[in-house]
Amino acid sequence: MIEQLLQHISIPTLMCLIPLLPLLGAIANGKMYLFSTRSQWKPSHALSGTIAVVMPLISFLIVAVLFYIAMGLEDSHSVSTGPLFTWFGGTQWAVTIGLKLDQLSLIMALVVTGVGSLIHLYSVGYMSHDDGFAKYFAYLNLFLFFMLLLILGDSLPLMFVGWEGVGLCSYLLIGFWFTDIEKAKAGKKAFIVNRIGDFGFVLGIFFIWQALQPTAQPGDAILSFSYISTHAAFLAPVATAATLLLFLGATGKSAQIPLYVWLPDAMAGPTPVSALIHAATMVTAGIYMVARLNFLFVLAPTTLNVIAIVGCATAFFAATMGLVQDDIKKVLAYSTVSQLGFMFLALGVGAFSVAIFHVMTHAFFKALLFLGSGSVIHAMDGEQRLSMYGGLRKHLPVTFTTFLIGTLAIAGIWPFAGFFSKDAILWHVYSSGHFWLWLIATLAAGLTAFYMFRLVGLAFFGKRNPAGPHHVHPENSVTMLLPLVVLAVLSIIGGWVGVPHAMGGHDHIMTWLAPLFPTALHEAGNESTELFMGLGSMTWGAIWAIIAWILYSQHRGWADQMAARFKRCYTLLVNLYYVDQIYDAVVVQPLLWFSRSVLWQTVDAVLIDKILVGGSARIARLFGRVGTAMETGLVPHYVFLLVLGSVVVLGWMIL
């Protein structure tokens, strides 16, 4: 049936439709919004909502169909449009525009369009009271366009288009409620910090470009992934520099140390945005990029070590910062940073497919958690402080249940999705011989369980804080509940595609991705050890979860006592290690001072304008003064000078 249908529609056309449909949706909604601002006509929510949800949904269906087709393909499991047109280029090389779906991008595209569609649906309910309804969906659809371009693009520059494009949408959506200047500032910060990463990305591209120049024939698309992978040998001399710079790009987009600071602030955006962009999809772009270029990264063991260490450090520090947050979304934000750290840790030890596996499960449960928190915030009239919540499980039963499922998943409790992916990461770290990284990561995993159950305890258990909103809106919007339920189901079963052989599974996802990635860099460990460690890590998570649950839902006093006891530590954490302040004092302020006082007011205004330009004017005026003094206005003087001059000239000629 599907094959018959497809005989009439070519695969390249379908592939082009995947990103183009959301773009169409974005244009339609954007136009409707702009026209509604200057006329009486307002687009109905139903209309713009339908456009916005249907577009990604169709894209999702197309991806699913292509997934089905690709599975059936014998040799490569990938489909591609080939080069559609040449974008730009030099005499020896070119950048062509083309889309490609292989095992890796298929998984990413499924997650992005699938979770994306759900979050669009959720947004219809969540944003129903907002004036900028159509604008919101225009941005959100535009985001999907760029994200799909990032995933489907078959060359580095095209990926970079998506890379910056999602940053733009993130900027627009964080600052969606721009009348609040703090939110606008958060958006700007996100964009600029990302730009710092993009700086690395661009330079990484340049290193690759330069190293591949000698190999190129005129018209070769030397920056396409297939060309880079077939000529990887030429890249060995620059691999370390190029990959480190590309990784700088990844730290920006995927919020790793040292560029993670924008992500917590990004929570200023509407909650579904946080779910889609700042948890499930965009922030995993860095992991996707490293996995995409795995053949390059394995050439640079130094970079891989750096990635592993940075990932591990981020996982741990972000988790500690998550421990003390009072804002429900900030907890989830730091948790996202921490989880992304886990993914980089996996990449760093060479377990690329495990990282992608965690990207997928994380997309499910983190989107679920964010949407759940959105439901809570929606029900509490926009209140985001955990201390104002309490006892919500009776008021919001569906949210509570699904949220709990998400929490169990992220805490790594069997058989929820997070267990399999996180356990796989820890196992690979351990079995590849990085004992210390494993230890820190395990600790971070424990902290994850702790802060998530702290959140659950504070929000859903205990008594309502009388200072909080009095009325809890009931959850009755189907568009909001349906995505929660679907994501909850996915958070349960999503990990089952990656059950390791040690636990009697088939590890489908690893098998599926295996052709893309180098065979394990390290000896696979003993299967019984793996099983034992899996059990251990689950118990470990459960212990922390129970402690947190006791502390924050049963005996809240104990937690405060502990905070008072370790006051220094607590202040440090609450102030997030003063990283923002340090960046401000060390980078931002000196730069502004230097620009204003030195470059502008000294170099431009004094050195160039006053001394050079003004100075030359003054010298000219000096000559003028001498000339003026000779002008007495008396004819005899002039005549005298005339004669004197003639005598001098004559004398000079004669002598």
Binding site: G627, T628, E631, T632, G633, L634, V635, P636, Y638, V639, F640, V643
Partner: protein, 101 residues
């Protein structure tokens, strides 16, 4: 004694120096103009003399031009003098200081 070109030149130089002296020392504009005429005449004399002694007509032609220029100059110069006289009721050059830049 034979009159040679040197005699003419000496006379011409004397006339020219008298002219310069007049221009530089006198304050009366009319006298200054006359001194200028004297200088022109000195030049004319030299031209005619050279022309005569080198049996070439160019010098004489030049003299005719100088006559015409002298006439024009006198006309314009006297016109300016009259205008200046109306302005300051006097022909003393030192009383005009507005030529300053």
């Amino acid at each position: 004694m034979e009159i040679t070109v040197h005699h003419y030149i000496v006379i011409s130089c004397l006339l020219f120096i008298i002219g310069i002296f007049g221009v530089l020392t006198r304050r009366n504009l009319l006298i200054i103009l006359m001194s200028v005429e004297l200088m022109l005449s000195a030049a004319n004399l030299a031209l005619v003399a050279f022309s005569r002694f080198s049996s070439h007509l160019d010098g004489q032609v030049a003299v005719l031009f100088v006559f015409i220029i002298a006439a024009a100059e006198a006309a314009v110069g006297l016109g300016i003098v009259i205008a200046a006289f109306r302005h300051t009721s006097g022909v003393r050059v030192t009383s005009w200081k507005e030529l300053k830049g």
